[in-house]
């Protein structure tokens, strides 16, 4: 029977890995993710979770161990955050090229320096082009469920996937969580059948040298399978509802039907944008919310059909690609380019380094987007001393005062 417990996002992720019957977990602790693997180590040590927990000396090795385990046919899981995900980067590529359906949870944390344990999504979005599927959780429930959903699809296309969860706002917040019935999860997620068996009796070379006559085809197949995953996410999300009681979709809308102004958000701050959209409606503004759950594969068709014909689209990005814009805004603009009835896309950058993104913040953005005429690539919200707006034109580098004294 399913159980209702009050748990943090981190513990929910650990339950997600346990319900998925991950067989090998290899991880290195890093705040704010540590509670995930702490609980998993307890669950494996106590025997409640029949899995092998491999301790390693770095995130790079953690992913390498997952690569080995997955190659050998085990369902492998890890969790990391921020700098840890960055250190994993090389092995993330390996998991893709070796077509290993590993799942990891990344608790999004701003990158150092300056050292920060607070949330923004630049860590996970820096891995955009590696070839991992990516889902962004909004609630503690999703922190658990998306792991199960991700394995289901990953093991059909033989590509790895990561679930993003925002630091502290989800990772350390306790909320009611439905822990699914294990038999139901087993019915949803069958045993992992690896693409290739590692058989000592039939030694083969894996991941060897591929000359320029052949590499392109292998990569083509990765692209092809990532594309397939888009439809599979829809089907598996539907089936999740049938078997486990809640349907998931790559995109989620709120009050969209007649919305003229669509606010786009991803991750935990979406809860506040949703509340703000309701408040806008109460003020008579035809506002709606589009939440992006799947970032890779990017649901291009859904975004095109949902956004076509709207008056304005405001994208809230808790990340920034310096020199361009917010990353979600950039992706949505490129999806809409050349489409009939494509709306103008206003990119808003918010909440960097854990700055609180509040209902009022979304309301301020609403006020701005209603009156702003030109869509801007990047509009910064909440930088001290500056109104919402694009970059200043007249900024100059200001050395530290003591340096001038020394001179």
């Amino acid at each position: 029977m399913p159980e209702r417990l009050l748990l943090t996002g981190n513990h929910a992720a650990a339950y997600g890995a346990m319900l998925s019957k991950a067989e090998v977990i290899s991880a290195y602790p890093i705040t704010p993710q540590t509670m995930i693997v702490e609980l998993l180590s307890e669950l494996t040590a106590s025997g409640r979770m029949p899995a092998k927990f491999i301790t390693v000396e770095s995130e790079h090795s953690a992913m390498a161990a997952c690569v080995g385990a997955s190659s050998a046919g085990a369902r492998a899981y890890t969790a990391t955050s921020g700098q840890g995900l960055a250190l994993m980067h090389e092995m993330l590529h390996w998991a893709v090229g070796a077509r290993l359906p590993i799942v990891l949870t990344n608790v999004s944390r701003a990158m150092a320096p300056g050292w920060s344990i607070w949330c923004d999504q630049n860590d996970i979005l820096s891995q955009r082009d590696v070839g991992w599927m990516m889902l962004f959780a909004e609630s503690v429930q999703e922190a658990q469920d998306f792991i199960i959903w991700m394995y289901r699809v990953a093991e059909q296309v033989f590509l790895p996937g990561m679930v993003g969860m925002d630091a502290f706002i989800l990772s350390h917040t306790a909320e009611p969580l439905i822990v699914h019935d294990q038999d139901a999860v087993d019915a949803y997620l069958p045993k992992f059948e690896p693409l290739y068996d590692l058989d000592p009796a039939q030694p083969r070379a894996y991941g060897g040298l591929v000359n320029r006559d052949h590499y392109f085809e292998l990569r083509y197949k990765i692209y092809e399978n990532m594309d397939r995953a888009g439809q599979l996410l829809v089907e598996a999300g539907e089936e999740f509802g049938d078997v486990l009681g809640h349907k998931y979709t790559p995109l989620e809308g709120y009050l969209l039907d007649d919305a003229e102004y669509v606010f786009v958000s991803a991750g935990a701050m979406t809860s506040n944008v949703r509340q703000a959209v309701r408040d806008m409606r109460e003020k008579g503004i035809k506002a709606g919310l589009l939440r992006v759950i799947a970032f890779r594969p990017f649901p291009i068709d859904g975004i095109r059909s949902i956004l076509a014909g709207r008056r304005k689209v405001a994208v809230l990005d808790r990340n920034m690609s310096a020199g361009h814009s917010g990353i979600f805004a950039e992706e949505i603009r490129s999806a809409l380019l050349g489409q009939p009835d494509a709306p103008p896309v206003y990119g808003y950058i918010v909440g960097i380094g854990g700055r609180d993104v509040r209902v009022e913040t979304a309301m301020d953005i609403c006020d701005d987007v209603l009156v702003r005429e030109e869509p801007e690539m990047a509009l910064f919200v909440g930088v001290k001393g500056l109104p919402i707006g694009p970059l200043r034109k007249d900024a100059s580098i200001r050395p530290l005062q003591p340096l001038e004294v020394m001179r």
């Binding site: 704010p32 344990i117 989800l170 917040t173 909320e175 009611p176 809860s271 509340q275 609180d356 209902v359």
Partner: protein, 188 residues
Amino acid sequence: MIELRIHGRGGQGAVVASKTLAQAAFQAGRYVQSYPDYGVERRGAPVVAFARIAEPGDDLFVRQDIREPHHLLILDSTLLDSANPLAGLRNGGWVVVNTSDPPDSLGIVPRFRVATVDASEIARRHQLGTAAQPVVNTAILGAFVRATSIVSLDDLLTAIDHEVPVKVEENRMAATEAFEQTQLEVTV
């Protein structure tokens, strides 16, 4: 949606208090959130924890800092002088303070309601924590329940069973005693 803020010092159990209160409301069928203020935690340093409890009809929950709480729990009365705990408290909100002094002696402005209980003494009596560093969280929750009635004492005691890792019976007795000994003062 009811928003609560708990002020304490590292070691007093403020984070567990938040979780226990949320658990009590959760058992009563309400949607809840509980989270600590994510800072560096160490014994004796000021600590803040938060909780949200749904009211009938609430269907959306937000995920942002609680800046204007409905009620406060203050686990160490010295924080009244140093930590400005009343900031943002809504009018008519309860300030539940761990002190042996009566409510009207704390000098809290009349737009708030004050409840006091000597939670430290109760905790010491039940050997919760050490004599110098009593763990007062379950006792102050008893006082909070008495003052606000947001959850019932029974729900609180069941939540203590669920959330408190050691000395469950002593904690239940501390909460019950505090519930009974709380001094309330309506100063509106």
